[in-house]
């Protein structure tokens, strides 16, 4: 038994000295990343989002190999993928439903952050990068939905690009620039395909920054208090195991939809080829855009509607300062916790409203919901932070666990 290192270890050390990539990964999501020991299953959704992103890029590149970005061939090429390309139906259904699941996972991830105050100091930049990721996801999802060139693709593209015509003075020039013509047409489809292919890789870049920014302060936790070194356990194997279990549950749900309900979240009109001379009677965006679409339609004025819609996302950038409470976790904030659930219901109501015709009761609900959305962030968040008395915070993560048997 010699104490000499084996050939394998020596080769590994030689490589590590020159490019320490393995230790870099170990520091990021491995045994050298200490994470708070009390993370619950809501902390799975960041890793899940990363996994869905990989699925999307993989299936997306394979789909691109069989797709033709031309107005005369796009619809047919998608149908060919469904009928003739080997496993094409699987690739397409995984990709289309993957988009929906990407948003499901990311929305849960965002609401997790809202509940546990993950946007507060010192994680503001981490939060910003998350919003940028959501914006890139939205652009990617929108450009991707246009590619099959069905009726909803075409009219979705028309309505969304027309949002920019609300910009005073130069609005129409911007829309012509986006279209590359005088209406949504072949040049539009071509550039949307190029952008849809590009943006996921931009997304990967921002995700790397997001993870980097996460590792400066480390993960938040359900108690929202700063974790001491004693309160932490290595990410690997503890949280890799927990994430893999969560992944298994996620895959069960995801593939149930992919195999048995692949069109449940789509719109039947998108199986009609695009017709520039006829708008479907009732156009709706994909479900994940519905709350923002509802906000857009809440006001009978084009520019105000567009400003409110973009504002509803951009307002997220300033909530680290709109929330005046220094207590992070809603667990210790009796009033804020109730308001969080009301806000969540408000978002669900807006989602429902976005799918309805803007008249009668849905229109009234849309207006109330839009009002509450902004009221929550602009008025309630700062005011509640001042008037609320938070429950006493534990001194460390270990304290409440240790104290329990004494009860």
């Amino acid at each position: 038994m010699s104490t000499e290192k084996s050939w394998g270890t020596q080769a590994f050390d030689w490589f590590e000295e020159r490019l320490p990539i393995v230790s870099f990964i170990d520091n990021t999501v491995g045994s050298k990343y200490p994470a708070p020991k009390n993370l619950n299953y809501f902390w799975n959704f960041g890793a899940l989002a990363g996994f869905v992103m990989v699925i999307m890029i993989l299936t997306g590149i394979l789909l691109a190999m069989s797709y033709t970005p031309h107005v005369d061939h796009a619809f047919q090429s998608v149908e060919r993928i469904m009928r003739d390309v080997n496993s094409g139906w699987l690739l397409r259904y995984m990709h289309a439903n993957g988009a929906s699941f990407f948003f499901i996972v990311v929305y849960i991830h965002i609401f997790r952050g809202l509940y546990y105050g993950s946007y507060k100091a010192p994680r503001e930049v981490l939060w910003w990068l998350g919003i940028i990721i959501m914006l890139i996801m939205m652009m990617t999802a929108f450009t991707g939905y246009v590619l099959p060139w069905g009726q909803m693709s075409f009219w979705g593209a028309t309505v969304i690009t027309n949002l920019f015509s609300a910009i005073p003075v130069i609005g129409d020039e911007i829309v012509t620039l986006l279209w590359g013509g005088f209406s949504v047409d072949n040049p539009t489809l071509n550039r949307f395909f190029a952008l849809h292919f590009l943006m996921p890789f931009v997304l990967v870049g921002v995700v790397i920054l997001h993870v980097w920014a996460l590792h400066i302060p480390g993960s938040n936790n359900p108690l929202g208090i700063n974790a001491t070194p004693k309160d932490k356990i290595p990410f690997h194997p503890y949280y890799t195991a927990k994430d893999v279990f969560g992944l298994g549950v996620f895959l069960l749900v995801y593939f149930t939809v992919v195999f048995w309900f692949p069109n449940a979240m789509g719109h039947t009109d998108n199986y009609i080829p695009a017709n520039p001379l006829s708008t479907p009677a009732h156009i709706v965006p994909e479900w994940y855009f519905l709350p923002f679409y509802a906000i857009l339609r809440s006001i009978d004025d084009k520019l105000t509607g567009v400003i409110l819609m973009f504002g509803s996302i951009l307002i997220l950038f300033v909530i680290p300062w709109l929330d005046t409470s220094r207590v992070r976790s809603a667990t210790f904030r009796p009033i804020f916790r109730v308001l969080f659930w009301i806000f969540l219901i408000d978002c669900v109501v807006l989602t429902w409203c976005g799918a309805q015709l803007p008249e009668g009761i849905p229109l009234i609900l849309t207006r109330v919901g839009t009002f509450w959305y902004f009221f929550h962030f602009l008025v309630l968040m700062p005011v509640i932070g001042w008037i609320e008395t938070p429950r006493p915070l534990p001194t460390s993560i270990s304290t409440p666990v240790v104290a329990k048997p004494a009860e």
Partner: protein, 183 residues
């Protein structure tokens, strides 16, 4: 000491010259980058062949009073409606000064009978209903956009709903009594 003072004075002069050179170089570079960006951005604007397809001729001879046809121009529908005397009267009887986008009917037609407008809602670009007899024509008898509920009147002027402007009147000329060229 005198030597030192002299030495100090020289670098300041030198630095201001360097600063000038530095700023001038940076400014020239920035302008250069901005100018070189333009062809890249402009490549996304409509290409020459797209622009070439910008006019279309159509005959209105088969159109009867009260009927409407749709012509495709630049990938957009152009609505042509042969209005009845009653409809023309209705379009002109109301005070246009009070409308959201005030414009008299007379300014929107060349021949009183034919209303010719681009059939694209000025809100977010949907095609309004009202061309076919089976379609709803909204609360003002002209067009109704189903996407977000904009109502247009018999001169295709916006009357109610989120759209900010009247349906656009394209550039067109009457080549003869019943022939038009759009664009």
């Amino acid at each position: 000491m005198a030597d030192a003072a002299e030495h100090q004075a020289v670098p300041t002069e030198d630095e201001s010259r360097r600063d000038f050179l530095l700023h001038a170089t940076l400014a020239t570079g920035a302008v250069g980058v901005a100018v070189s960006m333009w062809p890249l951005i402009n490549s996304m604007n409509p290409a020459a062949d797209t622009l070439a397809l910008s006019s279309v001729e159509a005959s209105l001879a088969g159109l009867q009073e009260g009927q409407a046809i749709t012509i495709s121009w630049r990938g957009k529908p152009v609505f042509v409606r042969y209005r009845t005397a009653v409809e023309i009267e209705e379009a002109r009887s109301e005070r246009w000064q009070d409308m959201p986008d005030p414009q008299p009917d007379e300014e929107r037609v060349q021949d009183d009978r034919y209303l010719i407008v681009i059939g694209v809602c000025t809100h977010l670009g949907c095609i309004p209903l009202g061309q076919k007899t089976t379609e709803t024509r909204g609360d003002y008898g002209g067009y109704f956009c189903p996407c977000h509920g904009s109502h247009y009147d018999l001169s295709a002027r916006i009357r109610r709903g989120p759209a900010p402007a009247n349906l656009e009147v394209p550039e067109y000329i009457f080549l003869s009594e019943t022939n038009i060229r759009i664009g």
